[in-house]
């Protein structure tokens, strides 16, 4: 049964220094509020996992929370580059960031293997690219029936998974809809999980396209209205495109970024619930 807790408490229970943790969301329902709370709690030494690291990962990396990133595409979607990510990779600022790099198909299959309790997944991919040369986590595997050689990737094993969803009920059953990405798989890969939600309701009436994570598969639920801002939360809010554009400027400069951290994460204005 999931426990319903405050965001601060849930984050402190679920995300610890040195953890391997995924904040998933395939450009929709990105758990920004939870990520900001992790920065606020000054977690260190995280291995961050995600298919599409974007602004919240740029922020976590710039704030010095992470020493490793496992990913398949890192950018500011529709805008450009992630400057804190680049600065960490190229200049070790604020700390060195080690990379393990995959394709989307590879990462998706690593999540599937983890969710399935298997040590690895089989796929057609990576062949002929320079990606296998940079990690030992891509290996050939031979079909025992046809002799064909395919590619294996190891399961993702997460200490923690954090996602944002539209709703939960009072028992802690979680419902999300729209583009649901790999969020279910991320939760099922993890030893501990936290779902932030727009609201808690008495009953999760069925909705087209919705998936439900039963309460017994989730550890913590925390109410965080607008917790996906500036990304989308379908049915609740649309993307704050100005924020994404403004981030390009903020992220580009270390001073500017540190000012943003101080003003919006560590000392937010009274009533500033998001960002």
């Amino acid at each position: 049964m999931a426990r319903i807790a405050s965001l601060a408490q849930a984050v402190s229970e679920v995300v610890h220094d040195g953890d391997t943790v995924a904040f998933e969301g395939f450009t929709h329902l990105i758990p920004f509020a939870a990520g900001h709370e992790v920065i606020r709690q000054r977690r260190r030494g995280l291995t961050l996992v995600r298919m599409t690291p974007d602004l919240i990962y740029d922020q976590l990396i710039g704030a010095g929370c992470a020493t490793r990133l496992v990913f398949s595409w890192g950018g500011n979607p529709g805008v450009g580059s992630l400057h804190r990510f680049r600065d960490a990779v190229s200049n070790d600022w604020p700390v060195h960031l080690e990379l393990e790099e995959h394709s989307h198909a590879g990462m998706a299959n690593r999540y599937v293997a983890g969710a399935s309790g298997l040590p690895f997944a089989v796929m057609r991919g990576y062949v002929g690219t320079d990606l296998p040369g940079q990690t030992s986590n891509i290996a050939p595997i031979t079909c025992p029936f046809t002799g064909e050689v395919l590619t294996a990737v190891p399961a993702l094993k997460l200490d923690a998974a954090v996602i944002h969803a539209q709703r939960a009920d009072r028992q802690g059953n979680v419902q999300l809809w729209g583009i649901t990405g790999v969020q279910k798989e991320a939760v099922l890969c993890a030893s501990r999980s936290l779902v932030t939600v727009e609201e808690i309701v008495d009953e999760l009436d069925p909705r087209p396209g919705a998936i439900v994570l039963p309460t017994w598969a989730v550890d913590y639920v925390a109410v965080a209205p607008g917790g996906a801002h500036p990304s989308y939360a379908q049915g609740y809010s649309v993307r704050d495109n100005d924020y994404y554009r403004a981030w390009d400027e903020i992220g580009r400069d270390r001073e500017e970024f540190n000012r943003w951290l101080d003003n919006h994460i560590f000392n937010p204005a009274p009533g500033e619930v998001r960002a």
Binding site: T52, S81, V89, S90, H104, A105, R124, G178
Partner: protein
């Protein structure tokens, strides 16, 4: 480039679309000559029919207008991997003589790159498994290089037969659309050769902006200029998009 890319799409094709120019081109094609084009976004929407351009692949308009919304693992495993997608689009920071594409790092040292790029995303498997691939990239000597610094997505490897040797089942990049014209693989060697120029572009300009001594096809075509109705449709699409922001 957008109009040229749109024209490369046939009505009824199933097209794997990323944000940016591919999404614009695919939606333009849907509004002009290819109303039955099927758009698959890698975020999990099969048959999305947005009435404006999505801001990102997570845009709710894709889920709202799709025939089906599926998980990301399903997109890659059930739809892309088995070769059910006709056309894939790729962008490129670098593309080489054999249409191999780099979106990972610029520079010789992967660990200490000159420029760290976003990375692979869906590209390696799009390049491997789509029936054919269209690459859209602005032409410059920085982008068009003899050999890419990092092979993120395989075009034709080191030449003819390499795709087969690697077991790649899709047809590879059959069309590279630039701001100057179109390059296509030579059927004999798989080397990219210039097959068309946009109106007003000379072949010397293409040569000057290509990082290898690029060959020109015997039957060099000139692309038709955008028609008024194509331009109008494009303008309308952009207007509708801006109204939403």
């Amino acid at each position: 480039m957008t109009v040229a890319a749109a024209r490369a799409l046939r009505d009824g094709d199933v097209c794997f679309v990323g944000i940016g120019l591919p999404s614009t081109a695919a939606n333009l094609a849907r509004r002009t000559h290819a109303p039955g084009l099927v758009l698959v976004y890698e975020s999990g929407t099969l048959g999305a029919k947005p009435d404006r351009l999505p801001l990102s692949i997570g845009d709710g308009i894709l889920a709202d207008t799709a025939d089906a919304v599926i998980s990301v693992p399903e997109v890659f495993n059930y739809w892309l991997q088995p070769g059910r997608i006709d056309i894939g689009f790729l962008g490129a920071a670098q593309i080489d003589r054999y249409a191999n594409v780099n979106t990972t790092v610029i520079g010789d040292d992967y660990r200490r790159p000159k420029v760290r790029l976003p990375g692979a995303g869906g590209a390696p498997e799009i390049a491997a498994n789509c029936r054919e691939v269209i690459v859209v990239v602005r032409q410059s000597t920085r982008a068009f290089v003899e050999r890419v610094d990092f092979v993120t997505s395989v075009g034709f490897g080191r030449g003819k037969g390499d795709r087969e040797r690697l077991g790649l089942r899709g047809g590879g990049p059959r069309t590279v659309i630039t701001d100057l014209g179109v390059l296509q693989p030579d059927p004999e060697t798989c080397e990219l050769v210039v097959t068309a120029l946009h109106p007003g572009v000379g072949i010397d300009e293409v040569r000057a902006r290509t990082g290898w001594p690029v060959r020109v096809a015997e039957s060099l075509r000139q692309t038709d200029p955008p028609t008024p109705s194509e331009l109008a449709a494009l303008r309308r699409l952009r207007q509708q998009t801006e109204q939403q922001e």
